[in-house]
């Protein structure tokens, strides 16, 4: 079973078209293995993206270098998954 320890979900708010294009460039970087839950669309619309632990530093540096605002929406995805799993087991019982 694949685990998601250390994966974070970031909420990003692009301010203009240029920042949206920057995010689209980021999305095209396959090696980062990022997973857009809500893709970049128009300025001021929130973007949600899951980032593996190994790519976190690269992505955050990229965002900061481009002046793109972000916050951590989910700090550790695996913690949520474990809680959900626990709840499912309880329901099954």
């Amino acid at each position: 079973r694949e685990t998601f320890v250390g994966h974070q979900v970031l909420e990003i708010i692009p301010r203009n078209e240029e920042q949206i294009q920057n995010l689209e460039q980021l999305e095209a970087q396959d090696h980062l293995e990022i997973d857009f839950w809500r893709s970049p669309t128009v300025p001021e619309q929130t973007v949600h993206v899951r980032i593996p632990f190994s790519s976190l530093q690269d992505v955050k540096i990229f965002l900061e270098s481009q002046g793109i605002a972000y916050s951590v929406m989910i700090k550790d995805l695996q913690v949520l998954l474990d809680e959900e799993n626990e709840e499912m087991l309880m329901n099954q019982r």
Partner: protein
């Protein structure tokens, strides 16, 4: 078979449990509900559809759920909806009149391989599980695989991407099975697909950003449906064409259905603000299903009252 009174619609369930409950519904309402298999998934799991019919060859409404497997609240909502349709027939005048006029086909788990994979191997899986020749990666995004602007903007040609469109339109047997069923039925009047994330109610197009011929009617209807949905718990929905309220995305199911001639083609993105990702807490399943039902009902009533 034992009646399903003990089934908990407010919990997430395995594929086997969902299939069992579908059998239970068919057994509990034998004159209204039947189960049919419209095909098999890549890993040979059945594509099971519930047919709600009072008999005769009526025009029909198609509903499918959970094409992106990890959105579990979608499949759970579909199952609650199935029970609601069955149990309200003969009690709710609107549903009774609907089913006296039309049939409903409901596919609660559109991507069964992905659903099982997301429960056993990778909780974030959203694609099918087909093997891609020449690639180490598996799976195709089944909502980029329809024959509607296939391979255009908003879909990836990289087999390792989460939005990979696949080698050709309808390459995924799950998509092909639905297409064949819709074509062979020949009288589907509405095509509604249920997804989850971001609270949206959308209509075509996604593969292009032009205004569709029925824009005014679909826009008014979608807004009424969203209003009905919001009236229950205040969940905020955005309404519009895929291209303008999300982004240009090619190969989507409702674009195909609309171009095929099914005027009432809609996609719901159910309740999930993102805070929990695709892990919407189970205590939100029933509220999500209840509010979605009001939106669905608004659309289905309109379809019933506006034959074409």
């Amino acid at each position: 078979q034992e009646r399903s009174s003990g089934f908990n619609f407010g919990a997430y369930h395995s594929l086997d449990e969902i299939f069992q409950e579908m059998d239970q519904l068919a057994a509990a309402y034998p004159t209204l509900v039947s189960k049919l298999q419209i095909g098999s998934s890549f890993e040979n799991r059945p594509m099971n559809v519930l047919k709600f019919s009072t008999g005769g060859n009526k025009p029909a409404i198609w509903l499918d759920a959970g094409i992106h497997s990890r959105e579990w609240v979608t499949q759970a909502t579909a199952l609650w909806t199935a029970n609601k349709i069955a149990s309200d027939y003969g009690k709710d005048p609107s549903i009774t009149s609907l089913l006296d006029t039309m049939d409903i086909f409901l596919l609660p788990v559109t991507n069964p391989d992905g659903y099982v994979f997301s429960q056993t191997k990778n909780r974030m899986w959203r694609k099918t599980r087909s093997k891609i020749p020449g690639s180490l990666c598996f799976g195709v995004d089944p909502n980029r695989n329809w024959d509607a602007g296939f391979g255009g903007p908003g879909a990836s040609n990289n087999p390792c991407s989460d939005s990979y469109h696949g080698p050709s339109a309808n390459s995924e047997v799950e998509v092909q099975s639905i297409v064949e069923f819709i074509k062979s039925h020949g009288n589907i009047k509405a095509f509604i697909t249920l997804h989850s994330y971001s609270q949206l109610l959308m209509y075509p197009y996604g593969y292009k950003c032009t205004k569709l011929d029925d824009f005014d009617e679909l826009n008014i209807l979608a807004n009424s449906a969203a209003q009905a949905l919001t009236s229950l718990y205040g969940t905020n929905y955005k309404v519009g064409p895929i291209c303008s309220i999300i982004y240009q995305a090619s190969g989507g199911s409702i674009d195909w259905s609309y171009d095929y001639g099914i005027k009432y083609s809609f996609a719901f993105e159910l309740r999930d603000t993102g805070l929990h990702g695709f892990l919407l807490p189970a205590n939100q399943i029933i509220p999500t299903a209840e509010e979605t039902w009001l939106g669905l009902k608004t659309i289905m009533e309109h379809v019933r009252d506006h034959p074409y």
